[in-house]
């Protein structure tokens, strides 16, 4: 045993050392893509907003009819009042106020507070529902690919059935019976949204199964479990990260859509709920609909940019 080997053994005592380098390598490849970096920055901004925003804003459900329909700071609207007594039409200019930087809605609730609250809701729904869906998808996909034969057949037919399942109708039914709740929405999306992931994971795992390094592991005497957990899954992780990043916007939009048609949870101020409330007053108080709309648009863009950037970074064939 040479001294050099002993030095090396000492130098590699910390097991996370290699992992950090690998993450660094992929980060280098990602940050090249400016759109992806913008996406990541925006998402971080959302996270910060969701975490500490509520401490700095007024309550989102604080109703104050005195202050209703205020425009955002820097804008001004006109309010016309017809006095039956004098028969005169007085038009007063109503400017925005920095107390409500983004204005208020028809019930006087602060828009900024609702946007912040909406960010929190969207991220929660996005992450939780996607998490559930991905988790189920990975298990089904990997099992299907590795067990093969009849297990694969059964699982894939089950996946086909679930793909055609009208989750929307299920949701309506649940809400009809139990009343609307954020928890139901998350569960419904999660329990029905795993099918795409399962298919992608299965096909990636299948193609990995015949690769030489899997054969090498088997040749070494690795058990099936070790091959799956130590070799297959880590190599599928990059695919999963990309799938997750690209699924989250769909989930967020799904929640917004549900709220928009009235199936959302009215006790939380999500962007969809605010949008729904604002659609009727587009001509008088346009900001109530436009602000959550812009946030949804930017959020979806951000996740998509980041997801695309990650996909390119993880793909060994793309030259970066």
């Amino acid at each position: 045993m040479t001294d050099k080997s002993q030095d090396t053994a000492r130098a590699t005592d910390s097991p996370t050392y290699g992992w950090v380098r690998l993450a660094g390598y992929y980060w280098q490849r990602t940050r090249v893509n400016r759109l992806a970096v913008f996406g990541l920055a925006f998402i971080l901004f959302l996270v910060v907003m969701a975490l500490i925003g509520p401490f700095f804003t007024l309550g989102p459900t604080l109703v104050d009819f005195e202050q209703k329909n205020l425009p955002p700071a820097g804008f001004a609207t006109e309010k016309s009042v017809y006095s039956t007594a004098t028969g005169e039409l007085t038009i007063t200019r109503v400017p925005g106020d920095w107390k409500h930087p983004l204005g208020t809605d028809s019930k006087g609730r602060d828009m900024l507070a609702m946007i912040v609250s909406g960010a929190r809701v969207s991220l929660q729904v996005g992450l939780l529902a996607t998490g559930i869906a991905i988790f189920i998808g990975i298990i089904i996909g990997v099992l299907s690919a590795y067990m093969g034969r009849w297990v694969d057949n059964v699982l894939m037919r089950f996946t086909d059935v679930m793909m055609t399942f009208p989750f929307f109708l299920l949701l309506v039914l649940i809400i009809f019976i139990f009343g609307p709740s954020l928890a139901f929405i998350v569960l419904a999306i999660g329990l029905t949204g795993w099918t795409g992931t399962a298919r992608l994971v299965r096909s990636e795992a299948l193609s990995l199964r015949t690769r030489d390094f899997i054969l090498a592991a088997r040749a070494m005497g690795a058990t099936g479990g070790r091959v799956i957990f130590r070799h297959l899954i880590p190599n599928v992780v990059s695919l999963i990260i990309v799938i997750a990043t690209l699924s989250i916007p769909g989930v967020i939009l799904a929640e917004a859509a549900l709220s928009f048609i009235g199936l959302g949870d009215p006790t939380v101020a999500s962007w969809g709920i605010v949008l729904e409330a604002g659609q009727s007053s587009l001509d008088t108080a346009w900001w109530v609909a436009v602000e959550p709309g812009i946030m949804l648009f930017l959020t979806v863009l951000a996740f998509n940019f980041l997801g695309d950037g990650l996909r390119d970074a993880f793909d060994p064939k793309s030259r970066i």
């Binding site: 080997s5 090396t8 590699t12 290699g18 030489d212 992780v237």
Partner: protein, 324 residues
């Protein structure tokens, strides 16, 4: 070359067929006879070269011996013990003594594992020593194959092709095996790197007293490495002889054609034997001798009867009607 000793591996009439299904109900339509009755033996410290062109079944043969593919028929004996239907536990024990080196250095390493992890994996699987002991052994192995032990935490994409192949070799050596099946270990490498890796394999063969089943398609590499050479065509061995014997005195027409086709730095003004046609499909091999459709010395009997692999002179086996 030191005289090889006892029989390490004894392959008897090994067959590996792949079922071909077709039609709406996935009926069994036919078989791809990738390996169709192959017999040979490898002694301790011996290098048996297995040569053939693409589709002849040599890679399948290597994988079947390690039970990475399940044999359809025949027997494999390792040190006298029948391993053809060995259970999983037995195979894990076998993995301590028989290992494999793969062709494509890019595909044979897990891209998410460091060099140290890959090399040390056999030790981890077989629970050899403690973590510290394993790390020391990994460093030792890296030095032995000519790698800088400080790169133990590097990932495969940070190494060159030749270095990745060295990692693969170090991994195969980790458990001190007796037999290594090398499946085209230098085919994907540049010529100068190839020479380095071949030298490395020669060195460790001597140092560890290893036997190799050296699978390749390049005859000059085989000429350099092997003690004995087996030529494969469409799932069968057509000629088997000692290194010098087979290159100076090739008997089977296919061997002659292979040697004649080899481009050489010193091109002799010789009669080039150009084979007619292409390699037939492994699903519908020609009747009788599989090579007869392209043979330049074909006889009438060749399309009726399959020739057996028979010992013509001491240690020189041929499967050809010309010599019966």
């Amino acid at each position: 070359m030191k005289q090889p000793d006892t029989d390490l591996l004894d392959v008897r009439d090994l067959k590996k067929y792949y079922q071909v299904t077709g039609g709406l109900l996935s009926a069994h339509v036919g078989d791809i006879k990738a390996v169709d009755g192959v017999s040979f033996a490898i002694r301790e410290r011996e290098v048996l070269g297995l040569v053939g062109e693409s589709g002849c079944g040599k890679s399948t043969l290597g994988r079947t011996i390690l039970r990475l593919e399940e044999p359809t028929g025949g027997n494999i004996l390792y040190r006298g013990m029948d391993i053809t239907r060995l259970d999983r536990k037995g195979l894990r024990e076998l993995a301590r003594e028989v290992q494999m080196i793969f062709q494509d250095p890019d595909a044979s390493l897990d891209p998410r594992m460091t060099a140290g992890d890959s090399i040390g994996e056999p030790l981890t699987i077989h629970k050899v020593g403690n973590e510290r002991g394993r790390m020391l052994r990994v460093a030792e192995l890296m030095e032995q194959v000519g790698l800088d032990a400080r790169q133990v935490s590097h990932y495969p994409h940070e190494f060159s092709g030749g270095q990745k192949q060295r990692i693969g070799i170090a991994r195969a050596l980790a458990m001190n095996p007796r037999l290594i099946i090398a499946d085209e270990p230098v085919s994907a490498l540049d010529v100068s790197v190839q020479a380095q890796i071949l030298n490395l394999m020669t060195d460790i063969q001597k140092q560890y007293g290893l036997a190799y089943l050296f699978i390749a398609h390049d005859l000059s590499v085989i000429r350099h490495m092997a003690h004995r050479v087996a030529i494969m065509y469409l799932g069968k061995i057509v000629e088997l002889a000692g290194n010098q014997e087979i290159f100076e005195n090739p008997l089977h027409p296919y061997t002659e054609a292979l040697l004649s086709a080899l481009p050489s730095c010193k091109p002799k003004a010789r009669e080039r034997i150009l084979l007619r046609g292409d390699v037939p499909s492994a699903m519908n091999p020609p009747a009788g001798c599989r090579f007869h459709t392209r043979c330049h010395r074909v006889l009438a009997i060749c399309n009726r009867e399959q020739p057996e692999l028979v010992e013509i002179s001491r240690g020189h086996f041929v499967a050809c009607h010309l010599y019966h």
